[in-house]
């Protein structure tokens, strides 16, 4: 593979289909429709016709009496549906000192209901050929179902049972806890995982929810009780705090009828609103974490970014596309395509309900750690200067014309709509996206670059082989340097 860039827009997975029973034609004759040579010039790229316009599927919304919001998008290409039951609360609401509650609650939903064991849930999924999973982000917890519509009766019943009647059985919890603790121990093996933890902690501090790990720490996971999970579940898993998003070969009336039957008795309750505190970027500090013998140094550089609701959303997206959000972006072109220091350099804004991080990152060969640091800093400064018009135009077109790729499949459509639901963005957001990207100016780019990327207020994390990289880093005099090891970052293992 040539690249592993993470792009914020577009590139959401796969699922359309072939029409059944269409005849297959095989011709063995060479095609002979060659136009005369003088009509084209092979040395120049062809001129392209007008691009297709983005056609956003229509979105139907309903609401049950208990407050459950239902969103349905019809997509009839294949007899498939994607269904997401989203609760609007996630790790952001983990109680102080107990990171990992939302995540572990999600995990436990799949581990048994009041009438089905963990193994029965799994058996039924495999037998039906459907996939159900549960997980939590910062501001939402989701139970999702991917199903052939022929199995909708059974699979939607299973989804509802998992979401509404979790057993959170003590025996299963101990098994899951043990596995989770072991997985956390294994984080020590991976430089990039240590870098992610160190970066969030350095940027937000442990007082802010975003500074704590979503998956918890060894100490917190060891200490969580069944009551913590039950409390989280009963507080936040409420219909008036939830949305059922359905995309696929379905009809809104039918989905509403099924939802009424399966979720109609779900009891509403007052749900506290929890939002991570807003944070501000701190004076530039470099955290150097020792990972002896690492073949590469893991870079995470940035600051506090923006909330999903920011009025700067499109300006930031366009700016980031130029800086590190595409293969042709400055960071990737410099660190990879000019210098060969890395397999890929990228950047991105993690938009959350409060301001999430802006992060530039790369895995860099140990011997070029100091050189790469210089180039990162150079690019993070340069993006604050006026950007060339052709580069801006390319970034805008890349974002605008890439939008339809997000609407190819049922999964893709669900993935486009879910962040809107999570962040209270109107569902007609995409109807004006092309135009709003088009309206971003050079002045907008300069303004947001200067506002969000301040070289005097950057958090830098480099995880690598300290004895090899520390002298070079210090020689660059990057400001305050804090030296840590993996244990400082991940915390001490719990005493048994």
């Amino acid at each position: 593979m040539r690249r592993t860039l993470r792009l914020h827009v577009a590139l959401i997975g796969a699922t359309t289909a072939a029409a059944c029973g269409t005849p297959v034609v095989t011709t063995s004759n060479p095609v002979v429709v060659v136009p005369p040579a003088e009509t084209f010039d092979l040395t120049k790229p062809p001129t392209l016709g007008a691009p297709p316009t983005l056609s956003v599927p229509s979105i139907v919304t309903r609401q049950l009496a208990n407050g459950l919001r239902i969103i349905v998008v019809e997509q009839h290409e294949l007899p498939l549906a994607d269904m997401l039951l989203q609760v609007r609360t996630g790790g952001e609401a983990d109680p102080a000192g107990k990171p990992g509650v939302a995540g572990l609650t999600s995990t436990m939903l799949m581990e048994g209901t009041t009438t089905r064991t963990s193994l029965q849930i799994d058996d039924q999924q495999a037998f039906l050929g459907v996939t159900i999973s549960a997980g939590s982000g910062w501001e939402q917890s989701t139970v999702s179902l991917h199903t052939p519509t022929a199995q909708l009766d059974s699979s939607m019943t299973l989804l509802a049972d998992i979401a509404l009647h979790p057993a959170i059985n003590a025996t299963d919890l101990e098994r899951v806890r043990k596995a989770r603790l072991t997985a956390l121990q294994q984080q020590r093996d991976r430089g990039p995982a240590i870098a992610d933890r160190a970066y969030a902690a350095a940027l937000y501090g442990s007082d802010n929810a975003y500074g704590r790990p979503l998956g918890g720490t060894e100490l917190s996971i060891a200490a969580l009780t069944r009551d913590d999970l039950v409390q989280f579940y009963s507080t936040f898993y409420r219909p008036n705090n939830a949305t059922l998003l359905v995309v696929g070969d379905v009809k809104p009336d039918d989905i509403e009828r099924r939802a009424q039957a399966l979720f109609g008795a779900w009891a509403r309750a007052d749900v506290p609103s929890v939002t991570a505190a807003n944070a501000t970027s701190k004076a530039t500090t470099l955290v150097l974490v020792d990972k002896p013998g690492a073949a590469q140094s893991s870079f995470r550089i940035g600051g506090i970014g923006a909330a999903r609701s920011t009025k700067d959303y499109f300006a930031l997206q366009v700016m980031n596309t130029m800086l590190g959000g595409s293969f042709g972006s400055r960071l990737n072109q410099n660190l990879r395509e000019k210098h060969g220091y890395t397999y890929g350099a990228s950047s991105g804004f993690s938009y959350r309900r409060s301001a999430g991080p802006f992060t530039a990152s790369a895995e860099v060969v140990t011997a070029k750690t100091d050189s790469a640091l210089m180039e990162f800093m150079k690019e993070l400064s340069a993006i604050r200067d006026a950007v060339p018009a052709d580069e801006l135009a390319r970034a805008k077109r890349y974002l605008q014309l890439g939008l339809p790729q997000g609407f190819e499949t049922t999964r893709g459509i669900a993935g486009q709509l879910l962040p809107l639901v999570t962040n209270d963005i109107p569902l007609d957001f995409y109807n004006t996206a092309v135009q709003r990207i088009g309206a971003v100016t050079q002045a907008d780019i300069q303004r947001v670059a200067r506002e969000y990327i301040d070289p005097s207020r950057l958090t830098l994390v480099i995880v690598g082989d300290k004895k090899m990289i520390e002298p070079g880093i210090r020689a660059l005099n990057p400001g305050t340097i804090v030296v840590r090891d993996a244990r400082d970052v991940l915390g001490a293992p719990p005493t048994p």
Binding site: V34, A179, F327
Partner: protein, 440 residues
């Protein structure tokens, strides 16, 4: 016939049209106008299996160089022009083939075709040492990111090096060794291009929202004048081989937990035993109710994870089971438990329900894999090359539906009781955890 869940979906065919230009380029067209997206996916019939000793990793290094511009495309322009058109692109290399694709709004199709034609026809006039050296550094970093800086990252190259004879095309990893990447020369680049990057060694699939006549006009215009290449060297072939006895290996790594890898020789994709072996892997470790997961991870809780898969491709394959021991447990315990569970299947077979779960899950995954226009382009190219027929989706699916519980039991006995390669990856300084012949 296995037990089917009621209303199980049948797997569709992918309608297509196939033609061959006078210069030998195969073109496969599949129209799907449901979204205004089109994909061009070009497979060259060359992979790491075609490499020479001392140049491992070269086919993949070459893949990188294909993005560095060609006679009418300056360095960097390939990506810039495609991004301006709203397109994404990438490539990948396996043991058997190298592919390049663009996924784009439908109006950009001629640009992708023109760019692909320019690099197929005119890569060498602007090839130079700088491009090679740069991508060599990038690929070495790719190796670090995928192998050297990843816990357990060297398992695959260690296992295939011991499993396949040194003359076998799958004996070394696609990513290659650092030393061989360092040794690659500009002459190698030129020779490889002239040998393998000819229209008569390629298949181009165009999938999605396009007009057939326009597409064929562009294809002829841009690719028609590229000359056929010289006679291709023979494709790698494999000799049958047997492993006379278990081979035990140990690797120290910067890992917290030891992991055991058992690897057996299996066979090529679409061979008669291939589908039963895939389903055997699912029955062993495909879900929570699978034999190894349920016993080692769920019930005994002595393992952190267990994975089983049959990795089969054009010429050959291997079957792998790996288990990570939980703290306080040893790889030897894992080895004993894996052997016990395999022996139970050999002796008593599997239940119809186990088979049905595996078959139904496979059938559902067919729909998903064939779904997007990119996915369909890849299926057509893969079936065309590996099965010799792009119209193979229903046969591919049917071979899983035909498998019986007796078939799964039979292949367990035929393959997983044969001598194997046993690799233990242990934390540094813990070589004593290596699994040796002593376990049952």
């Amino acid at each position: 016939m296995g037990v089917q869940a009621s209303g199980a979906q049948s797997v569709p065919r992918i309608p297509f049209e196939k033609t061959t230009l006078a210069n030998g380029l195969e073109v496969i067209l599949h129209e799907d106008h449901s979204t205004p997206i089109v994909v061009v996916n070009t497979w060259y019939k060359v992979g790491s299996g075609d490499e020479k000793r001392g140049r491992t990793g070269f086919a993949h290094l070459f893949e990188h160089i294909m993005f560095m511009g060609s006679q009418n495309v300056p360095v960097g322009a390939f990506d810039k022009w495609l991004e301006t058109a709203g397109a994404n692109n990438n490539g990948s290399t396996t043991e058997d083939r190298t592919n390049y694709y663009e996924s784009m709004p439908s109006n950009a199709l001629p640009l992708a075709l023109w760019l692909d034609a320019d690099r197929m026809g005119k890569l060498l006039p602007v090839m130079d040492q700088t491009k090679l050296d740069l991508q060599r550094d990038v690929v070495k970093n790719e190796r670090r990111q995928r192998v050297d800086n990843v816990p357990y990252g060297k398992w695959n190259e260690t296992v295939i090096g011991a499993l396949f004879p040194s003359t076998h095309p799958y004996n070394w990893p696609v990513i290659g060794s650092m030393a061989d990447l360092s040794a690659a020369s500009l002459e190698d680049v030129k020779g490889f291009f002239r040998t393998y990057y000819a229209p008569n060694n390629a298949t181009m699939v165009i999938s999605g929202d396009f007009n057939r006549d326009s597409a064929l006009t562009w294809v002829n215009r841009y690719f028609g004048a590229i000359p056929r290449g010289p006679q291709l060297p023979p494709r790698p072939v494999i000799q049958g081989f047997t492993i006379p006895r278990d081979t035990f290996l140990v690797l120290e790594d910067r890992v917290t937990l030891p992991r055991l890898y058992n690897t057996w020789h299996s066979g090529r994709i679409y061979a008669p035993d291939d589908a039963p072996l895939d389903l055997l892997a699912d029955v062993l470790a495909g879900d929570k109710n699978s034999r190894l997961y349920k016993r080692l991870v769920f019930e005994m809780q002595v393992a952190q994870d267990v994975i089983a898969f049959n990795n089969s491709t054009k010429l050959d394959g291997y079957f792998n089971v790996w288990v990570t021991a939980k703290p306080g447990h040893t790889p030897s315990e894992m080895a004993g438990l894996v052997a016990e569970e395999i022996n139970k299947i050999v002796k008593d077979g599997i239940t119809p329900r186990e088979l049905a779960r595996a078959q139904n899950t496979r059938r559902a995954s067919f729909l998903d894999r064939m779904a997007s226009v990119y996915g369909k382009s890849d299926r057509l190219a893969e079936y065309n090359y590996f099965a010799g027929n792009p119209d193979y989706s229903q046969q591919d699916a049917a071979r899983y539906d035909r498998v019986t519980t007796a078939d799964v039991q039979r292949v367990a006995a035929a393959y997983l009781t044969k001598p194997k390669v046993v690799l233990t990856i242990v934390p540094q300084g813990k070589k004593e955890l290596m699994v040796t012949g002593g376990t049952k």
